[in-house]
Subunit: 289 residues, 2 copies
């Protein structure tokens, strides 16, 4: 009898320990609350930094930090045992991640992505606005580090850099190599010698791009992407007008990717109970011969 009681008590103790270990893992919502507490800027609504899929109350098995929650990234996160995905860019193909049209159309690609999320109990949360609002901008910080440009950065304006003189052609090739980009596009004279650069990762929009190109301390604007009848036509006209300007288009993912690697490093300082891993999104493009 006594032995039975002892055995039962031991089993209970082990179960209790196990439950405590379980409880030690934060929920997805708790991880996001830590982000909000640590990001260093007030949380402002409206924002796209919200849950996009899954149950915020789910216990986190691991965190996958990525530039874009593509189906490929979700598959790799799930295979690596991570159920919380922190993504800089949309999951469902639009800035607001609206899914009504896709659902109504019974879209097969959307259905596949939803099925994967459900099957693995994934939770997807977007971290865009406030990571950019952090001072200095978290994406800029990661990109500067990846490019080895910290020492060239303007302390008063975290998107401006002064480099030793370099031609646009060499600068573009260097960016291509350092960021391992397959498809890149440049507007301007390859032989132009430049020192003054602005880095505007992602799709900052024409107003922001133009205001950078208007500055005397910006000769080359480096961006992720832009509509070709906006920033691109403007840059081409600036070149035709013999202004000392060039535009380098990295592609959206490579232009911000290192900024989310930075985010993973930062999250590891306050998420310690579960693994936090940077899962790079693949550049979607290849260039035909």
């Amino acid at each position: 009898m006594r032995r039975t009681v002892t055995t039962a008590l031991t089993a209970c103790f082990i179960l209790a320990l196990s439950a405590a270990a379980q409880d030690n893992r934060p929920t997805a919502r708790q991880v996001i609350e830590r982000i909000q507490k640590n990001v260093g800027v007030p949380w402002r609504e409206p924002t796209v930094d919200t849950f996009k899929a899954g149950d915020p109350e789910a216990r986190v098995t691991g965190v996958a930090v990525t530039m874009m929650a593509t189906l490929d990234v979700l598959q790799r996160a799930a295979a690596g045992g991570k159920n919380l995905i922190i993504t800089h860019e949309p999951t469902f193909y639009g800035h607001q991640d609206q899914t009504e049209d896709l659902a109504r159309e019974n879209d097969a690609v959307f259905a596949e992505k939803q099925a994967l999320i459900k099957k693995h109990g994934l939770v997807v949360w977007r971290f865009h606005d406030h990571w950019h609002r952090r001072r200095p901008d978290g994406i800029q910080t990661g990109m500067a580090r990846a490019l080895g440009w910290e020492k060239y950065r303007n302390p008063a304006n975290d998107s401006l850099y002064t480099l030793p003189a370099i031609t646009v052609a060499v600068l573009a090739s260097d960016l291509k190599k350092r960021l391992a980009i397959k498809t890149m596009r440049v507007v301007g004279d390859p032989a132009l010698k430049v020192t003054k650069l602005a880095l505007s990762p992602g799709a900052g929009g024409f107003a922001g791009h133009r205001r950078l190109l208007q500055r005397d301390d910006v000769e080359v604007l480096i961006i992720g992407e832009a509509p070709e009848w906006e920033t691109v036509e403007y840059a081409a006209d600036a070149v035709t007008a013999k202004r000392k300007k060039a535009l380098i288009i990295l592609g959206h993912i490579p232009s911000e990717q290192a900024g989310m690697d930075e985010c993973a490093r930062w999250m590891k300082t306050f998420v310690t109970e579960v693994p936090v891993e940077f899962v790079p999104a693949n550049e979607p493009f290849w260039a035909p011969k």
Copy 2:
């Protein structure tokens, strides 16, 4: 006295003849009225097909038809003695060609373009919506002709084509060569064999792109450009989901350029008093090594 009268009369007669010759040249507005009369679809407001710069009552010295009224195109049109520019895409870097912000900012590129327009008395008119609304779509007709694809075109849907089986890699290289494109991007398996294509020139938007990629009779979607977090992420996910899909991104200008060559050919049939010439817009990009 008689001789003086005769001389005076002769001078008057020559002046009158000259005036008649002058009058024979239509105004810019009259050329546009002929376009509206000939395009074969009702004129619908609101539309971006409006005058963007210059005096609509100016007599036309010649018509330059172009894909995009870049500063370079305007310079070449003026050098060729043509003062009416018919452009498919914007002149002032936005779909609505709004200039208030550029003017308020004293933007140097905008000022240069305005100065050139004023100096040469250029008139710029956009021909976008109704050239697409024409049946078949004027841009599609020109692109099909440039690609030698008329025989592959679906008679019931002018954006669909059925080609002899070809790999995505060979198709992309063929497009690059035929359209003389320097920078092109492809999403999908280069070795995928395809026959069913959709051509959506320009920037048709995610809803349209998605509806084409959803179709069983579309394996490859060929576009001008698209935001990378919309159509591009969707296409990449479709490929990851092992759907038989690919996306070819030509760049905005090469994707529609031949459609404005077609427009120049068409305009010559009803503008006969002054020369009508297609002025190609240059691809703005080059690819770094």
